[in-house]
């Protein structure tokens, strides 16, 4: 109970260490999300509306990658960025940039696969009308992205939730270095192993609140869209 009370005190008093970790976590996940969204949304849309040999196989692979273990992603990014790896010359290992790359790799298949499903449903509905209006190519992709904006927002939020709660990959490529690459999840793992439950509980509480906020946002977006017939 004492640890829990102390945890709340850290949150209420805006403890500097706590908020440094919190800010880094959010910054890393948001940048990873932005990079991933730019890649995954057009990819998911393109796969939904384009016919080519092997399309189903691509979607199968994308769906399979959704369940990729984070430690495997961490390992792959580690091999890529390590001194002897192909991108070792960039010196990114054990920096927030490495964590951003790992999180982006991890959530790109998730957002792409979810958005693919959303756009595929919309494509079933719009296909004939778009054909009739001569809407094809880039114009169609943009139209699908705009019209599915609320459903896609929930896909993006799901990706953010996955990124911010991720621990396996970022601990491998970030190294959990204090004041440099320590994020909420890696800090919780470390502080728990050290027996410092106060900070672990504070961070855990913040993570829970963040998760609740994301879910509330998802529900809010869905309800708004349904009310305006934009769902």
């Amino acid at each position: 109970m004492n640890a829990l009370a102390e945890a709340f005190r850290l949150i209420i008093t805006l403890d500097a260490d706590l908020f440094e970790i919190l800010w880094l976590s959010i910054r890393v996940s948001l940048i990873a999300l932005a990079i991933s969204a730019v890649i995954s949304l057009p990819l998911g849309t393109w796969l939904a509306i384009t016919k080519f040999p092997g399309r189903k196989f691509c979607i199968l692979v994308l769906n399979a990658l959704m369940g990729m273990p984070p430690v495997v992603v961490g390992l792959l990014v580690y091999l890529l960025l390590s001194r002897s790896g192909p991108l070792g010359w960039m010196g990114l290992l054990y920096t927030p940039s490495a964590m951003i790359i790992a999180q982006a790799v991890l959530i790109t298949p998730i957002i792409a696969a979810l958005s693919n499903q959303v756009i595929e449903n919309l494509h079933q509905e719009y296909r004939d009308t778009f054909y009739s209006m001569g809407v094809t190519g880039r114009r169609a992709v943009v139209a699908y992205l705009v019209d599915a904006r609320y459903a896609l927002t929930t896909c993006i939020l799901a990706g953010f939730g996955r990124a911010i709660a991720e621990v396996g990959a970022v601990i491998i490529v970030g190294g959990n270095i204090d004041h440099l690459t320590r994020v909420m999840t890696t800090a919780i793992a470390l502080e728990t192993s050290k027996g410092n439950l106060t900070l672990a509980l504070s961070l855990g509480t913040v993570l829970l609140v963040l998760s609740l906020l994301i879910n509330a946002l998802v529900i809010g977006v869905r309800e708004y869209a349904a009310k305006r017939q934009y769902a």
Binding site: D128, S132, M133, G134, V135, D147, Q229
Partner: protein
């Protein structure tokens, strides 16, 4: 000025679904301007024929030419209004703007006039999908007409709509036809066919059973199947 997509020539059009020929060798020439109504019992192939004309379905066999053009080459001169209009998840005005982006940029007032023509000027900023069925269909027609098509295809466009919407849509279709657009309309509604048709194509069993001027068709149909249809008999 008559539509440049006339005459429409369809020869030996066949479409097979499973082991059934749903279009079993359609031969048809539509050469006159005005409104052609395609009638026939359920499952006769009316909608499939319309979709083939618009290029939405590729037939297994046969040829369609519109004026001197193929279906693909004539696509940008055609517009189609479906039985269930599909509107974008945007406002009424944005739906029109999306269909004709160049006009939306250069002559935005034309979009407002199009909304006025279907009595939806006061709904310009409403989400299109929150409108009633009749309003949505009127908006879909306004969207189709904005591109000034040479050929307008309507697939049961007024089925289950309120009378006011039916009246307005029929009036707009007549006006459009008078301005030179060739209109081909699939309808189950005999009353509507009598009000609009200049000529009738009657389809049964995936084939053209009869093609004649509207007056002749409704007063003295030639085929037993058309007679039975007009008498209100159930055709299987």
């Amino acid at each position: 000025m008559p539509s440049p997509l006339l005459p429409i020539r369809i020869s030996d059009l066949r479409l097979v679904k499973g082991d059934r020929a749903v279009l079993a060798g359609i031969n048809l020439t539509i050469g006159e301007p005005g409104i052609t109504v395609i009638m026939g019992p359920n499952g006769a192939g009316k909608t499939l024929l319309l979709r083939c004309l618009h290029g939405l379905i590729k037939p297994d066999q046969g040829q369609i030419t519109l004026g001197q053009l193929s279906v693909t080459d004539s696509r940008d001169q055609q517009a189609m209004v479906f039985q269930h209009p599909v509107l974008l998840r945007r406002t009424a005005l944005q739906n029109l703007a999306f269909a004709v982006p160049e006009i939306a940029r250069s002559e935005p007032q034309r979009l407002l006039r199009a909304l006025e023509s279907v009595h939806l000027a006061d709904r310009a900023d409403q989400p299109a999908r929150m409108m009633s069925g009749g309003e949505q269909q009127r908006l879909a027609l306004a969207r189709a007409l904005l591109s000034k098509p040479a050929l307008l295809l309507l697939d049961e466009a007024t089925a289950s709509l309120d009378p006011a919407s039916v009246l307005l849509i029929e009036s707009l279709v007549k006006t459009q036809s008078a301005q030179g657009t060739k209109v081909i309309l699939v309808s189950h509604d005999q009353g509507q066919a009598r009000r609009l048709a200049d000529d009738v194509v009657f389809i049964s069993g995936g084939q053209v059973a009869e093609q004649s001027p509207a007056n002749q068709f409704f007063t003295a149909p030639e085929t037993p199947v058309a007679k039975a249809y007009l008498a209100g008999e159930i055709l299987l």
